[in-house]
Every structure is written in structure tokens, then in C-alpha cells.
Amino acid sequence: MKKGIALLSFATLVFASGIEYKGNLGFEYDYFSHDIQNKRDNAFATVGEVELKKEIGEGEIKVKLKGLYDKDDHNRRYIDFQELYYKYNFENSELLIGKNTLFWGALEVYNLVDVFNTKDILDDPFDYDKKLGTWNISWTRFFENSELSFILRLSQEDQKMQEEDSIFFFLPLPYNSDLVKQHENRPSFFVKYSGSGEEVQIDYTLIYEAGYDNQRYLSYDHGKLRQNAYWVNKLLGYTTLIYEDTIYKAEAAYAISDDVKVSDYLHTGVGLEHTIYSIAGKKDLGLLLEYYHYEQFNDTKFTTKEIGELFQNDLYLGGRFSFNDTASSEILAGVDFDLDESEKIYFLKYDTRILDNYKIELQYQHLSPSKESLFSKIDHAKVAISYYF
């Protein structure tokens, strides 16, 4: 019923006047080469997004609807509001009420401080930019070179997973997506301060959270595994510094856990990006280096594997080759070394634009796991084509 009313409101908005819109509709085909029993070796899905924005005086209403339809996987057939909010712009501040997504972070491969939204692992468990919208109320005060936000996060989203015969269902037992929360109706609270340097080219952000951790652990319940959300007091920070041709980046999160099964921890990531401009004509080559480390302060509690944290002692090396052409063509290639597990993930991604409105993306990944890994040796190739309007 709730969804029906929301869809009706959405349709009303589409036909109303003075609305800015944009979106895309596309197809994705995935092929997996693997030796795991009872798992599909391909997936085909139609995916689309529509974003509508209506300005009303100093305020605005924004709606972003995402739809996905998988040919085989019934779990991957859904329509969801990623964003549905009202924002009012005051002279030096803004108030937002509704459901939205935010981006927090500085690094390129994985943003350990990007904790505000739950990841949409049903769409793609390894694309960390896929997120579920979160209901919240936020107020932000803007200063000349900085801003201060107070955010009350009202919801904790269930993380639905793909069907058991999908390659991306890697649990040993069936899964129940109903989230178990440590405190049933308690909202999470965030205070965030961001600023920029005047003499030095630096951006920095500090966040305090009293709320649910972005990490979750699994528990056994009536023959199925369920996710558990636990309470933390957490300090997060991230920064970007530019010195000459190199961009230096860092992220850190220190959490004090309120759950006896989960240890307090410090998660850090550092990285740099150095670009060599105008090679082979007007092409650029960006070199990327990132390192992630996870330190838990009590070894008798859940390990990183049990908590599902993949970036515990990882080194990433990669490069971004930008053609700087009218099609915005780009190649991204790299390798992620898990130094604890002797695990490696190689990937290569190419995207370009054709006929101005179509984007084509080609991807290849090779996962070379250790014996103890949750994953198996997998080669993954993906082709995606999207029409943008």
C-alpha cells in the first residue's frame, strides 16, 4: 500500500510542470567462469533510474527511482526509491527531510568512512557505490570555507541478497534478510564538520556517530542466517591534500562497540594519485596506490571474516587511462592484494560513449582466492549498455 501511494505520487510528479528530469535505461550481461556446484554462470538484467527535481520557492522536492529486473533471479526484481526528500534552503543553512544517499570519503577503491547508507548488495556486492536510500532528517549550517551538519538517521535498511544459485550468494546457509537490531526503534545520530584550507590545497571532514555500525555480523536463526546491526560510538575522518601533481588521501574510523561479540576497532586507509598529463597526445595516465588496514582491539571477539570486512590488510595498485576524447573514454585497471589471505583480485574496466546518449561499459575481473576464503576462483566478464536522457 505504502509503495502504491509512493508510486502514485511519483507519477503525479512526472506529469506536473516545471520538473527537471534525467535518467537512464540499460541492459547488463554478466558471465562467470567458475567451478562451484549449483551456481549459474550468467545473469541478464534490465536496469533503469529516473531522477526528478522540482523547485518550490527556496525549497526543492527530489525523487530518484531505481528499477531492476533480472531474467532469472527473482530477488533481483524490484523498484525502489533511492531518494525521496524535501529540502529547504535558508540563507546560510539547509534542512532536509526524507530518504536520500550521501557520499563520504576520499579514496578511490573503497571508502571505509562512507557509512551513512547501507550498500545495495542485491544489485552488485562489489560495487561500493550502489547504495540504498536512508530515511533521515538533517540540518546543515554553511560557513565561508566549511560546513557543520547534524543528522538523525531514522532507518536501518535490510540487505537483501541474490538467489542461492547466484554466484554472488556466497553464504553457506540460506539467508533471511530481516535485520536484527540491537535497539529496535533507536535512530542513529551524526555530527559532521567539513572544511577546506586557504593556504594549502586541503579538504578535511570529521564525523562523530552514535548509532548503528555499517558493519554487521551474521547469526543463526531457524535454519537461516540473519544480519545483526549493533550500536557503536564512532569517530570518522577523511582528507584530501594536493601537493604539486599528486593527490594524497586518507580515511580513518575508530569504533567503540556496544555489542559484546564485536571488538572495538580502528580501520584506516591511505592513498595517492599521481597523474601524468598529455601523454600520447592529449591522453592522461593516473597512477593509483592505496592501502587499507583493520585493527581489532580484542582478538577473542568476531574476526574480520566473521564481520564481513574485506579490506583488513589490503594493497591496491592501479591506473586510470583517460583518452580525453569527445566520448569520455577511459580504462581503469588494477590489482587488489589481500596481504593476510594471499588473495588477489585483478580488474579491467573500459567505458565510452556512443551516439552521445549511449554509454558502454566492459568489465573483466579475476578473483584468485586463498584456500580459507569465502570465495572461489572466478572469472567475471560484464557488458553493459545504457541509454541516458
Binding site: 534525467k22 537512464n24 534552503n89 546560510n92 539547509e94 544517499t101 550521501l102 557520499f103 570519503g105 557505490d129 554553511f142 565561508e144 560546513e147 577546506s196 590545497q201 579538504d203 584530501t240 594536493i242 604539486e244 601533481d245 599528486t246 593527490i247 597523474t275 598529463y277 598529455s278 597526445g281 592529449k282 592522461d284 580525453n324 576524447d325 569527445t326 566520448a327 569520455s328 560513449r353 552521445d356 546518449n357 554509454k359 545504457s386 541516458y388 536522457f389
Partner: protein, 250 residues
């Protein structure tokens, strides 16, 4: 008597000869004082076979003493619609630049050292589209008066001070009557002629000269980009707060 005439002529030419710096200052003065501007622009990129690609964008600029502030929003192609580039220009240090990526809702601080890089795949580099402040160049030698089309121009040389510039020198042609730039030849790091920009369709808006079209031809790859100002307003009521990072997400 002949001697007196010669001395007078020499004195006259010395009196009226203008240095490259003086001309550059005058050229800067006739296009300055706009306070702030909002411009809708169209960029037509033409490849060596004549195939055209069109991009639309809106630019906002705030005139400032130590360097202008500007915001460029891309309206097309559709997949980058809403992408914004915020720049705080500085005369004495690298510019501050942030890029907003709407699909990720990410504001990314980027390096402004990429002077030579192509702007949106066009024949304009980031250096070409940034404000042409007088202090960014040295002006060796004196300008000479030469015919340029129907007009007479001061032909002069300017050399970028920035060691990251993609150019070793630029030759400028500036109208002797109104001090409007008519043409610029750009020489690459190998000192070869790389590009020529022809400035045209000048209009006086609220007493300020504004260019209406720049045609940039690349002599080394036979590609061309035409930048057209579809709509241009000056002395708008834009303030510093309109160039706060806040507006990137709006």
C-alpha cells in the same frame, strides 16, 4: 629642417609606441568590470572528417581582485548532466578546483595543474578556458601594427609564466581601436604552431565588451572547436556565497 622632421617623427613614434604589457592591460580593461556573469554556452566540436559533436553548458563567474571565482555546469551529454566544476583562480599559486559528480553525489577536489589537458574532449585546454589574467604572462618586445582583416591590430608576443603551461609562447592580434583580442596563435612545448583561436561576434553588454564566439583550430590534428555564447548576462547579482561548495550539490 630634415633633421627636425626626423627627430619629431622619432619622438612621435617613441611617444605612441606601446609595449606588449600596456596593450595587454588595455585589452584586459575593456573586458573587465563585468562584476559577475551568467552565460549559456554551446561548444561545437568538429573532427578531421567534419563530424560535429555539440555540448551545452552554463557558466557563472564572479570578478575578484586576487582571481575570479567560476562555476561551470554541464547540461549535455545526458550522462554527465549536472556535473559541475568550481574554480577559485589565483594569480600567485595553483587554482583551487572541485568537481561534483552527481551520479555518486561526490565532491572531489582535483588538481588544477592539468593546464594542457583537453576540456571535455575539445580543442580548448583548461588553460585556454581559464581567465587570461595580465599577470600570468610576460610580454617581451614591442608590438607592431599590422592589418588583420578589415582592421588594424597590434601584433605582440606573450609568454606564460606558469612552468606547467602547455605553451612556449602565444602571438596575439589586438584591435588598435577598441583593444579587443581578434586572434591568438598558440605554440606548443616544441615551439611548433599548435592552435589558432579567432575571436568574433563581440557585443557590448551593460558597457562591457563580451566575446560571442571563439573558433579554435588545431593545426596538428585538423580538429576544430567553436565556442558560442548563446546567452550572456553581466553585472548579475551573484555573490561569494553563490560560489560556495554548497552550490555544487544544488
Amino acid at each position: 629642417m630634415k633633421k627636425i622632421v626626423m627627430i619629431s617623427l622619432l619622438a612621435g613614434s617613441t611617444l605612441f609606441a606601446m609595449s606588449g604589457l600596456e596593450i595587454a592591460k588595455k585589452a584586459d580593461a575593456v573586458t573587465s568590470g563585468f562584476e559577475s556573469s551568467i552565460s549559456t554556452m554551446q561548444m561545437v566540436m568538429i573532427n578531421s572528417t567534419g563530424q560535429k559533436t555539440v555540448r551545452d553548458m552554463v557558466g557563472k563567474t564572479l570578478e575578484k581582485e586576487g582571481g575570479d571565482k567560476s562555476m561551470m555546469e554541464f547540461l549535455s551529454p545526458a550522462d554527465v548532466k549536472g556535473t559541475k566544476l568550481l574554480t577559485y583562480q589565483h594569480v600567485d599559486k595553483d587554482d583551487d578546483q572541485w568537481l561534483y559528480l552527481p551520479a555518486l553525489k561526490r565532491i572531489k577536489r582535483i588538481s588544477s595543474r592539468n593546464k594542457t589537458g583537453s576540456f571535455m574532449g575539445s580543442e580548448f585546454s583548461y588553460e585556454d578556458i581559464s581567465a587570461q589574467e595580465v599577470d600570468k604572462y610576460t610580454y617581451p618586445g614591442e608590438s607592431k601594427e599590422v592589418p588583420c582583416g578589415d582592421q588594424t591590430c597590434y601584433e605582440g608576443e606573450r609568454i606564460p609564466k606558469d612552468k606547467n603551461s602547455g605553451y612556449t609562447k602565444q602571438i596575439t592580434w589586438i584591435d588598435t581601436k577598441n583593444f579587443l583580442v581578434q586572434k591568438v596563435d598558440y605554440y606548443d612545448r616544441k615551439k611548433s604552431l599548435l592552435k589558432t583561436a579567432v575571436f568574433s561576434d563581440y557585443k557590448k553588454i551593460d558597457g562591457i565588451w563580451r566575446v560571442g564566439k571563439i573558433d579554435m583550430k588545431n593545426h596538428q590534428n585538423d580538429k576544430e572547436t567553436i565556442l558560442i555564447w548563446v546567452d550572456d548576462k553581466v553585472k548579475t547579482s551573484l555573490k561569494d556565497k553563490d560560489f560556495n561548495k554548497r552550490v555544487l550539490k544544488q
